[in-house]
Amino acid sequence: MKLPFLSKAEEDDPYWDFFLNSPLSDDRNSVATALRNAPEGVVNPVTDDIHTPEVMSRHVKELASFLGADLVGVAKTDRPDYPFAVMCLTRAEHDPKQSPGIGGQLPAQRGLFATFIVSAWIRELGYQGTTKVEVNNDELAAKAGLGTLNTDGRLVTPRYGARVHVSGAILTDLPLQADA
């Protein structure tokens, strides 16, 4: 008898290691690379009316999780130009920093896809929203209440443990309500 939850798909798959770990022969074959190099659009010159910060935070989280982010949080930053950071986390069975293949990079790609559209949406609302500013992602995610930092400075979440990838922060001046 064949039970779906006992399927041996992983053992039967001789190409799975190639998917996860084979370095790219051509970097342009990766959607993650395209997302990292994508130019950002302009901020809409007409500022839309927006809801209260609590409602906007809820909407940002709803949109990001619809687009594939597994955990979303809002942190307060200490920058005057971008007072808030929206953190999108994806579950990562394999650490994208150690698995260079397209499959290994997939958690990063899924996170970048969500941050691309959410940051574009914030810009279309008429507010600053960027993913191009370098910040300490893990630290900000911990600040957003999504988990705590371990001794290596990596994020550990209650739901997925250390098997998460913080793909990037959306820094924004959209009035939001910070978590935690």
Binding site: F18, S22, R28, N44, I117
Partner: protein, 438 residues
């Protein structure tokens, strides 16, 4: 006796291999039958290319090319209603440089193992169904590729359909399902969001799959074939009265996009039978609810050598500029289809009962299932849906919120709109402005 050589092949006429044996007429399931010579579809004669040349009138031309949406979500998910294309994922993908196949090709000893692997990888990328079909010349478009808003060029564009099918014998289609709750809000910004955001997801799936097949060292051609034909041949679903592919797990709520044609060795699937043929014979729910009466109440027609249900695409398309303020994609025929239900055991039970039922007994079963559907989901379903500040329970034109795109009442006013009925523009009373009911 002198033999006259054939001028094309330079061989004796009897040696000429007839095309019919090399590419036998494909079986596409019970809903679609190829009865005659099929002429390849010319991409220039399809609705969007026709419209971008201005052949469908000024209103449609301006809607398609010169309209910026008032809904901020549509501005980041629909490449032709946005103010800045850099804010739209698929427009960004069309401008990014394309990669090349890996010169060190991964050997494939067992196509079945590779098929399992590709299906697993596609699900990881986010595809909900994976269809693989044997390429057939009649599936291909005439001459050029069809990839919306994408400047694609490949070195095989001048090759004939048969030559392409010999070189790249497999076609892959990667549908993404729409969220059930959101697609119930047809003719509304919520339904638009589920449609347009799934477009973005599917562009990411297809982009990733092209990149991965090239990393394996094989070639991919994007947008060479008609995705509906590939979906039928590969067993993704059957063609319904509403002109949509109806699938076993999701019903009509799937988004097909560009097909991939590849030389990666795979095992093609077979057409399925989930009883769409018997259901569409009886149901007509989509034909009744279609706001433009574009769906036929009658039987199948033969068009371009294919016997199938044919929708009137022009009336479907013509409505759009007049309702642009309220929605971008109609989706009514998807939302009302009895096959479109949330993923659940009772849905699987109903579909598998129908597909295991002997064909002569099916009409009776279909009548029973249709009665259940009418009873619990309504003859004209109008469910109220709320998502991200959008609310379909507010009548069009009566919105209380000033935020662009948002139709919700907030706070006090929300109590003014009780009930579970959603309002979907055009309301039933002014449908006949657009087209007379037959």
């Amino acid at each position: 006796m002198a033999v006259t050589l054939d001028p094309e092949t330079q061989r004796a006429p009897e040696e000429r291999v007839p095309a019919a044996t090399e590419f036998p007429t494909p079986y596409l399931g019970r809903t679609v039958r190829i009865v005659d010579q099929v002429e390849n579809v010319d991409t220039n004669e399809m609705p969007h290319p026709k419209n971008s040349r201005g052949e469908l009138g000024l209103a449609l031309f301006n809607w398609y090319n010169n309209t910026v949406s008032s809904d901020p979500l549509e501005r980041v998910s629909s490449h032709n209603h946005t103010a800045d294309k850099r804010n739209v994922f698929n427009a960004m993908m069309s401008r990014t440089p394309k990669g090349n196949p890996n010169p060190r090709r991964v050997p494939v000893d067992d196509p079945a193992a590779m098929t399992r692997h590709i299906k697993r990888v596609a699900r990881e990328f986010g595809a909900d169904i994976v269809g693989i079909a044997q390429a057939h010349p009649s599936f291909l478009y005439k001459g050029s590729r069809y990839v919306e808003n994408m400047e694609v060029g490949d070195s095989h564009e001048l090759e004939g359909a048969q030559e392409l099918c010999r070189k790249f014998p497999y076609l892959i289609v990667l549908p993404v399902a729409w969220n059930y709750e959101m697609s119930q809000a047809h003719r509304h910004h919520i339904g638009d969001a589920s449609y347009h955001l799934s477009t973005q997801q599917i562009h990411s799936v297809i982009g990733s799959m092209i990149g991965y097949i090239q990393e394996l060292g094989y070639n991919v051609i994007r947008g060479a074939a008609n995705p509906q034909a590939v979906a039928l041949a590969s067993g993704v679903g059957e063609l319904g009265r509403n002109g949509m592919i109806i699938t076993k797990k999701y019903g009509a709520r799937i988004h097909l996009q560009d097909t991939l044609m590849t030389d990666l060795p795979l095992v093609p699937g077979k057409p399925i039978d989930i009883g769409v043929e018997d259901f569409c014979n009886v149901c007509r729910k989509c034909a009744v609810t279609c706001p433009t009466n574009s769906i036929s109440f009658e039987g199948k027609q033969v068009f371009n050598g294919v016997e199938k249900y044919k929708i009137k695409w022009l009336t479907c398309y013509k409505l759009r500029p007049y309702v642009h303020e309220h929605w971008g994609s109609c989706l009514t025929c998807v939302a009302v289809c009895p096959y479109t239900k949330p993923t659940s055991w009772w849905r699987d039970l109903a579909v598998s009962t129908l597909s295991h039922c002997p064909i002569p007994l099916r009409p009776a079963l279909v009548h029973a299932l249709k009665a259940i559907d009418d009873k619990f989901w309504g003859v004209v379903p109008q469910r109220r849906v709320r998502w991200m500040g959008y609310d379909t329970g507010i009548k069009p034109g009566e919105k209380a919120c000033t935020i662009s795109g948002c139709t919700a009442d907030h706070g006090e006013a929300a109590k003014a709109a009780p009930g579970n009925v959603g309002y979907y523009y055009p309301l039933k009373e002014n449908t006949n402005r657009f087209v007379k009911r037959a």
